[in-house]
Amino acid sequence: MTALRILVPVKRVIDYAVKPRVNATQTAVETSGVKMSMNPFDELSIEESVRLREKHKSRVADILCLSAGPPKAQDVLRTAMAMGADRSILVELGEKDELEPLAVAKLLKEVVQKEDRNLVVLGKQSIDDDASQTGQMLAGLLGWGQATCASKVELVGEKGVRVTREVDGGEEVLEGELPMVITTDLRLNEPRYASLPNIMKAKKKPLEKKKLADFGVDGTNRLKTIKVTEPPPRQGGGKVDSVDGLIAKLKELGAI
């Protein structure tokens, strides 16, 4: 039986309940003074790793969490550890630095090799950039199998993994062997709430601080953001009081 050494990357994003605002200079979305929390899809991947351990006690050797972000991303890692991860690594970036998916994938590849991981469980996307690229790029860089948007994960036999995905009109079942990259979809599980006592306990779990350079990864962005604007406000609709009114209106608009 291959022991699972799981890596769960997590991202600190603007809280799902907050309505994002564009900053005054129109260069990015305002993040200062805004409530931040863990990307909901990453919560799913931690929950799944912890559930794998609860189901197969002897098979999961350890669950490592990683976040690349400002020093405050520590809070997200503490939450992850309160949910059941064993230890974490924080790759510290500047307050305004933002890594592109490719840089994240390269970083994760280094971490996978350094920390000898054989399963990476990522959220399928983050709710801020919605790129949905990191998992796929990582699998490509490592040359591992990938199962994206998982709605069910099972371990089969010695080193097999069976992943169910929701596709149009049904389910698709993939089977592969470790090592593997899995990305999580919304209906995979119901993440537990990081309770207060567990958050306190998580403060004692090890958290390592690293720099990008420690992994030899170049964090320069290849894309330049020219301008960020809010979508135009929705134009209100008009009411018509009869069928004739509707037809007249449609004719007026040139629709019929």
């Binding site: 309940a17 709710i127 919304l186 709430y193 207060l196």
Partner: protein, 87 residues
């Protein structure tokens, strides 16, 4: 000196956890509203000395905690579902 309540620790930690949960409670009047409600609910039973009733109250606190956690989960699930699976 009144006798020491053997459930004191449990009650306090339930109260603290409820306050912690309340920080995110979706209500127009926000956290102060929740804190007052929560405080009053505990204060109402301040004088309770019957062990059975105290345990009942603790079970109720446990229940409310579970409910709020479930509420948060559902709220998040629905928001994300609406944002990503509205097709």
């Amino acid at each position: 000196m009144p006798p020491v309540n053997p459930h004191r620790h449990q009650i306090l930690s339930a109260y603290k956890y409820l306050l912690y949960l309340g920080r995110d409670y979706p209500h127009s009047k926000g956290y102060p509203w929740f804190r007052e409600k929560c405080y009053n609910a505990f204060a109402r039973n301040r004088a309770e000395t019957d062990v059975g009733k105290i345990e009942e109250g603790l079970k109720r606190a446990e229940y409310v905690i579970k409910e709020i956690e479930a509420l948060y989960y559902l709220k998040k699930y629905r928001t994300i579902k609406k944002a990503y699976e509205s097709v």
